[in-house]
């Protein structure tokens, strides 16, 4: 069981430059993020607040915004790709 997480450039200073990382043993998006927070110091402060995500952070599973799924409770399966991106682009 392994999920690939794509890290945006804005967060690579806290991931030691890693653009992509794998998280094992997670069944929801929330658990995937918890796995990242444990591994990378300072990441939680950047993208999370009050137990949820900051409002300008978007998270996708397989290209779908988790707000169209079950939010942080969205299930992830082996081989899924989770993408973290800034929300302020476009228009």
């Amino acid at each position: 069981m392994s999920v690939t997480v794509k890290i945006p450039t804005q967060l690579r200073s806290v991931t030691g430059g890693e653009a992509e990382t794998a998280v094992e043993e997670a069944s929801t998006v929330g658990e995937v993020l918890d796995g990242l927070y444990d591994r990378f110091d300072g990441l939680r402060d950047r993208i999370a607040e009050d137990g949820g995500l900051r409002r300008f952070v978007n998270v996708y599973v397989g290209g779908e915004d988790i707000r169209f799924l079950d939010g942080l409770d969205t299930q992830v399966n082996d081989g899924d790709e989770v993408t973290i991106l800034p929300a302020v682009a476009g228009g």
């Binding site: 950047r46 993408t83 929300a87 302020v88 682009a89």
Partner: protein, 409 residues
């Protein structure tokens, strides 16, 4: 020049004026910060009046140290008094800001000319964008004029007119299977991987500054006065919030007096995340899957949604949504009363104005400006079948019989 830095709209952290758009501390959007404290109204007004007949006359309020030279300019579009429209709606005074009268026939020429000037200043050779169509037209054209390579990413189901009017400029036109929000996500990812200037991603703080010039022009064209109300289409919310910012800057400098006009945002019901949040009294937008004929407004995940809600609240305005049938009727109403043929987004805006008038929201003494952002020839399907032609043989008898109009003499 007053430009100082990039500043986070959320936590106020500052950054240098380079290609970035997100606060690394809190992920909030970055915006250009200025110091207008040294500005004196009269001399600033004279500098504007002596400036070129395009948006660069406002370069004191744009993010450059000196006035850029661009191959294709934009702006100084007509502000037309629309008495027949006002009469039809039962309101006193309506003006139409017709931004279809730009080089590629939409307000996007303003933002692109600013973004490309900054991209060139920063040394980029390739420019790109995620677009619902009008931006694609503008990026392709301005890049061609400037001699830059361009990549424009659009949803594959875009109107044919917008596809053709983009490809003609010799751009790399990328049709993405998905909606605009998918295109936007792809470009956001690509912007981290390519050394390109994505006008509405890593150049977004500069790009969005171009929209302030809509506000400056309205004020200058009204004789250095602010209107009482502005009706503006809302997709990402960038345009409406930047028009307001333009007015606020001129109030600060003293180029205009009074208070911020009421801001009414206009959305299509088939993609109305901001209007839905407004109706529910929320200060954030839940994303939606767009399904509307107003494809240029079909952004289900609006970046400036929360700031648009805040603007409507603090200015005493509102955010409304109209149906596809109301959009078609809005296009006809504007065309039949002003001679201006707008695209579906303008139908949204006109229909929203009609709705406000019908609801009695517009005061008897108000001066209202309707912001028309694009050209009807780009969304022809919206008016197909909306009228009948009189088909005749080339004879007087045939015409008389068909038209039912007898000759006078």
């Amino acid at each position: 020049m007053a430009v100082e830095a990039l500043k986070c709209k959320e936590c106020r952290a500052t950054y240098p004026l380079d290609a970035r758009y997100v606060c690394e501390g809190c992920f909030g959007p970055l915006e250009v910060a200025y110091d207008f404290s040294g500005f004196e109204a009269e001399s600033t007004r004279r500098r504007i009046q002596a400036g070129p007949h395009d948006i660069w006359r406002y370069s004191d309020f744009l993010p450059f140290e000196s006035r850029p030279k661009t191959a294709l300019a934009a702006g100084i579009t007509p502000l037309v008094r629309a008495d027949r429209l006002a009469e039809q709606l039962g309101v006193r005074e309506v003006w139409v800001k017709n931004d279809a009268a730009n080089p590629t026939h939409s307000f996007k020429d303003r933002v692109v000319t600013v973004a490309l000037a900054k991209a060139q200043e920063l040394g980029y050779q390739v420019v790109a964008c995620a677009s619902t169509g009008n931006l694609a037209n503008a990026v392709a054209a301005h890049a061609a004029a400037a001699g830059l390579e361009s990549y424009v990413f659009v949803p594959s189901d875009l109107e044919e007119q917008k596809i053709l009017a983009t490809g003609v400029y010799g751009t790399n036109l990328v049709a993405v299977e998905g909606n605009y929000d998918d295109v936007n996500r792809l470009c956001t990812e690509l912007s981290g991987e390519r050394d390109w200037a994505f006008v509405n991603v890593n150049m977004r703080p500069y790009y969005s500054e171009g929209s302030k010039t809509v506000g400056y022009e309205i004020a200058e064209q009204l004789g250095w006065e602010l209107p009482d109300r502005v009706v503006v289409p809302v997709a990402s919310g960038s345009l409406i919030t930047k028009i307001a910012r333009g007015f606020e800057e001129w109030l600060e400098v003293g180029l205009v007096e009074g208070e911020l006009p009421k801001f009414n945002g206009a959305q299509a019901e088939g993609c109305s995340p901001v209007a839905q949040a407004w109706d529910a009294g929320r200060d954030f937008c839940a994303p939606v899957k767009p399904n509307t004929i107003a494809k240029s407004l079909a952004i289900g995940n609006p970046a400036d949604g929360p700031y648009t809600l805040d603007l409507a609240t603090r200015s005493g305005g509102a955010i409304d949504a109209v149906t596809d049938d109301e959009i078609r009727a809005g296009i006809k109403l504007l065309a039949e009363t002003t001679g201006i043929f707008t695209e579906t987004a303008g139908g949204v805006t006109t229909a929203t104005l009609a709705k406000l008038a019908e609801r009695g929201d517009i005061g008897a003494d108000e001066r209202v400006v309707l912001v028309i952002t694009g050209e009807g020839l780009k969304t022809l399907d919206a008016v197909r079948g909306s009228f009948e032609t009189i088909d005749v043989q080339p004879t007087v008898e045939s015409f008389t019989a068909a038209a039912g109009v007898e000759a006078v003499a």
